[in-house]
Every structure is written in C-alpha cells, then in structure tokens.
Amino acid sequence: MGRYVVRRLLQAIPVLLGTTFLIFAIVYALPGDPLQALAGDRRVDPVFAATMREMFHLNDPLIVRYGYYIRDIFTGDFGMTFRGLPVSTIFEGKFQVTLNLALMALIIEAVVGIGLGLIAALRRGRWSDTGILAITLILVSIPTLVSGFVLQLVLGVQLKTSTGIDFFPVAGIAEGWRSYLIPGAVLAGTSIAYLTRLTRTSLMETLRADYVRTAIAKGMPRRRVLGRHALRNSLIPLVTYLGADLGTLMGGAVITETIFNLPGIGQQLFQSVYLRENSVVVGIVTVLVLIYVLANLIVDLLYAVLDPRIRYE
C-alpha cells in the first residue's frame, strides 16, 4: 500500500507542473498590454509602469516567471492583483461557495444516481429499467444552461405564484444550504445520468460474476447475495467516479453560478478573464486543477482501500 501511495503521488507531480505551466502560458500569451488594459484610456505613467513590470516580473521570459510563480505557490502566495490585493483574499469565501455547490451536487448525484441505477439493474429489461434509461437519455441531453433557467422559472416563480411554496431560493446564497438545492441539482444533471448508467452496468456485471453464483450456491439469502456479495464489488467503480466528479463539478460550476447568481469561484474567474487580472485567473485555475488532481489521487487511494487486489499489489 505504501509503495502504491508514493507511486501515485510521484505520478501526480508532472501532471500538476505541466498543467499549471500550460495555463500560465495560455494566460500570459494574452495579446495586449495588461497595464494598458487596466488603465483603460488613460495614459500610463512610464515610471510607474516600469516599477510594476519589475514587480510582476513582466520583463522576464515566460519560463522564469513560471518559476517565480511556482515558488510563490509553495509558500501559499498566489501573487497580487494589479490593485494590490493578495489573490488569496479574493479566493476567500468564493471557494467556499463553489465547494458548497459542488458538494450539494455530489450528494444529489450520489443519492439519485445510485438509487436509480440499482433499481434499473435489479429490474433489468422491465418497464422501470427502460423508463430509467429513457430518463438518463433526457438528462444527458439537457445542458445546464437549459435546466438552470427552466428550474428557476418553474420552481422559483411558477411554484411560488401558484401554490405559495417558497422553499427553493433560485438566486444568491442568502438562504443557507437551501440556496444550493436547485443549483446543485442543475449542476448534477448530466452526472446523475452517467452515474445511473454506471451503477446499472456495474451491478449487472457483478450479478453475472462467478462469485455471485458461488454465494447463491452457498445458500445465501437473496438479500445477502445482493447486499454483501454483489454491491460491495459494484461500489468500487462508483466511488471512483464520484470522487473524480467532485473536481469536474467544481470546474464546471461557472454556468450554474452565472445563472443563479452565486458569488463563487466560477463567476470570479469569468470576471477576471474580462478584466485581464491574469494573476487571479492563473490562481483560480491552478487551485481548481490542484483540486481536480488531488480528487483523482484520493480516489485512487480509496480504490486501493476498496479493492484488496490493488492494496497488496
């Protein structure tokens, strides 16, 4: 197990370096002078510009600037914005919002996806299975862009005006965890469909496995064959999928955050791209990639815990 962990950690390092460099390169290849963009139509004072350039290493080659950047990240310093605020203060609170949103989506996804998948697998070939497969088809086909606005209209407005139920806030984060319910469901949409299908195939595959036949031959009651022998094995790919999806959900939250006006990291990123606050953009994407890679790493380790064949490799 120890060697497995070390190997996975070592494998993650080149990916992290490569990805951050790629982002760094893309952003600093942005055409135009960032200082001029910041100043707008005003003339930039050349002395001030020179100090700024020096301070932000704008005169050094890309690779050197990247070196500085990585060095700073290791000390928890994500740099300064042009307005003189540390980038890390901009992160504050915003990451929490996006994380809350992603976690809510993950919970909804796990409950609904695994639930539907289990039903479909156990009722294979019957109408409930066909119905669930049809639902997944439709869920995959509805982009967040569509489901977001439709749910906002139906639950936030229609439901309130027609029944007086005002349980689902559809903008902002003033209502605590309830504020994340609808956005979470919207963000989870496609993932629910994938997880449902994955659960279905995974359980169907384990139900066909020889060891399930053995459990039946041992005279185990049906409930135990399903609950202990089959489910334990089918869970392995599901946990893997869910873990990896946390990173994807956080990275994909930008549209949902825009629709529901959630002050999260996605919205911040979007604004910063427009304002060309490169240090903020690189910082946000770096942290998201970090989360993504770490989530995958944790999943791999979890995998080893769940599957003894890997643990003792």
Binding site: R213, A217, K218, P221, R309
Partner: protein
C-alpha cells in the same frame, strides 16, 4: 451435529431405503438466445446413492455443467428454462420447491465446487470471511466461533499455516490452494451431495492429482455422494464408481467405471478412451475423434454423434437411438452398441 432449530427447511434424512439420494429424471433445459432456442439438456436421467461417486463426462456444450447447475438451482432463469423433468432429492422434486426452501438445501445438503476458484471466490472478502459465512448464516454462529470453524476447515483441506492465512484474500493464494479453499467452503456444513464441476481443469497437472486425492479422501471420510463433472477420462478411473457420458445434451452411455474402461458400449466413449495418451502405446499416433462438437442451435438429425461416428449406418441419420439397456447397470444410446462392444466396425 446439525442444529434442528435452524434446519427446519432441510429435507428429512430418513426413509430413504434403497431409493437413490438424488435422481435426475428426464431433465430438459433450454436457453433463449438471440440466435434462437438452445436445447442444452434433452432428457437426461441419472441417479446417485449415498456415498457413491458419479462421473459425468463430456465435451464443453454437452450439457454436463448445465445439468449440475439445474440441480443446484443456480441457472439464470430467464434465459434458462426447464420445460420438463424432475430432480428428486430424498424423494422430493426440487423443481417444485419454493426459492426459500431451495436456498436452504443449497450449501447445506447439496454443495458445489466450481472450476475456477479465482473467479468463484469473492475478491473483496478474506477467505476466512467467506468460509465463516456458511456457519454464520446457516448455523447462526458468532463471528468468533465461525472463524474458528473456518480455520479448522482450512486445516482439514491441508492449507499450511491456516491460522495465519485465514485473513488473506483469494488472490494471495496459489491456484491449488484457492481450490482447497473452495472445497473447504463447500464441505463446511457436511453436505450429502457434493457437485464438483471440473474442479481441476484450471490447475497445473501436478496440482490436479492432489486436488482429486483430497476430494476422494473427503468423500470417503464423510460418506458424501459426489458428482464429478469432467471432460477428462483420465482423472475419473480412480475416483468414480460409475460414469455417465454426455453428448449433445443427452446421456449416451451409463455404466460402472470399470466396464467403461474395459469395453465401452458407445462409439463416442470409445473415441474418448482411445484419445487418452497411454504409456504402453508410446510412439503411436494419438487417436482423435473426427469432426467438431455439435452446434446446439443446429443439432444433427437422428443420433447427434452420427456425423463423427465410425459406426454410422443410414438409420443413425434419421432415428434418435433410445437408451438401450445392456445389463442391470449399463446402458448405451447407440443403435449398434453390440457392434461397438464387439469392436466390429460396419
């Protein structure tokens, strides 16, 4: 001894007399597939008495494993279906029992050893857990007592250092040791019938003999009845009392083991015997049965073996041979069994 309060669903152990312990009677099994209906078993009958070992012999697709799975009640239905036949255990037709009653018999009275222990054992549970489960579920034992029993069983099937290995996972054992675990699990509750489905096929030749020896020894010690399913006539001779040879979903020959070796009464059995490598015939070309096993979707008319048969006559193509009784203990499904016995071709 078995605890009667737990075993209420088990079938009674008395009143057997001379009746067989297990009797398969005119069993038919078919599978619905995308290509059509596959008749995997077509009217198979055999009987087994306590303490007896029956070897069921045949190529893959002959229906030998499907018959065994029907006895265990582990066929997936659908696609499988049993349109006709009976499987009587202690006089009761298992096919008429409820699911619950059958699962009480499985593992406790009729147990099974599978071919490939690596896939037949659950990869995410320790071997101890998997053996102990038998005692915990069927006997209501505590975890501790059940593990003690598991270690005892692992000792009994001669797994070295059983106490240390009880918490290991299946993939940490060698193929032979895994098959021993499988056997330990199947004999855990002293079943009356043990079905071993090609128990040595997945193993090295040297290990094969050890496993067969172990099975024979366990069978002698506990007076279990055993059905040994194999495609290899070579492993049968020392272990089995009688042989049922299957071809194309039917039994083609039924006989005490020594009669078969001395003088087979069906051309297929004869072909199988002649294709065993023998020391005394070293240097000669090995005999092989010509042609391919029958396609279950497109069975030959008449006798299923006729396209490959050196004794073939015109009626073999049109008439299905019945199981001719040769003596009280032998029968052969060949129109020309006399010629086969006499070794006269055509």
């Amino acid at each position: 001894m078995k605890n009667p309060s737990v075993d209420t669903h088990l079938l009674p152990a008395d009143n057997l007399g001379t009746a067989p312990l297990l009797a398969v009677d005119n069993l038919h099994v078919e599978f619905k597939t995308r290509q059509g209906l596959v008749r995997a078993v077509n009217g198979v009958s055999y009987a087994l008495h306590a303490g007896e070992t029956l070897a069921v012999l045949g190529e893959s697709g002959s229906g030998k494993s499907v018959t065994a799975q029907a006895i265990m009640g582990i066929l997936d239905m659908p696609p499988a279906n049993i349109p006709k036949g009976e499987i009587r255990f202690r006089g009761t037709d298992l096919l008429k029992l409820s699911d619950n009653a059958r699962s009480q018999i499985r593992g406790q009275q009729i147990a099974m050893v599978f071919q490939d222990a690596l896939s037949a054992l659950n990869p995410v549970f320790t071997v101890g857990w998997q053996i102990a489960e038998m005692f915990r579920v069927h006997r209501g034992m505590s975890k501790k007592a059940a593990y003690a029993k598991a270690i005892e069983l692992m000792d009994r099937v001669r797994i070295p250092a059983a106490r240390q290995r009880v918490n290991d996972y299946p993939h940490q054992f060698s193929g032979g040791m895994r098959q021993r675990i499988m056997i330990a699990m199947s004999i855990a509750l002293d079943p009356e019938v043990l079905i071993a489905d090609e128990p040595t096929t997945a193993l090295d030749v040297t290990v094969q003999a050890q496993i067969m020896e172990l099975l024979a020894e366990l069978q002698r010690d506990s007076n279990m009845a055993m059905i040994l399913i194999t495609h290899d006539l070579g492993v049968v001779a020392d272990v089995a009392d009688k042989i049922a040879v299957m071809y194309g979903g039917r039994i083609v020959e039924n006989a005490p083991v020594h009669d078969v070796y001395k003088n087979p009464a069906h051309p297929y059995t004869k072909g199988l015997l002649e294709s065993i490598p023998r020391v005394d015939l070293k240097g000669q070309e090995l005999y092989a049965i010509k042609g391919l096993p029958p396609n279950l979707l497109d069975m030959p008319t008449g006798c299923a073996f006729h396209p490959r048969c050196p004794y073939r006559q015109d009626d073999c193509v049109t008439d299905v041979p019945p199981l001719h009784e040769i003596s009280g203990t032998r029968s052969s499904a060949c129109h020309y069994w006399r010629e086969v016995l006499d070794g006269v071709q055509g």
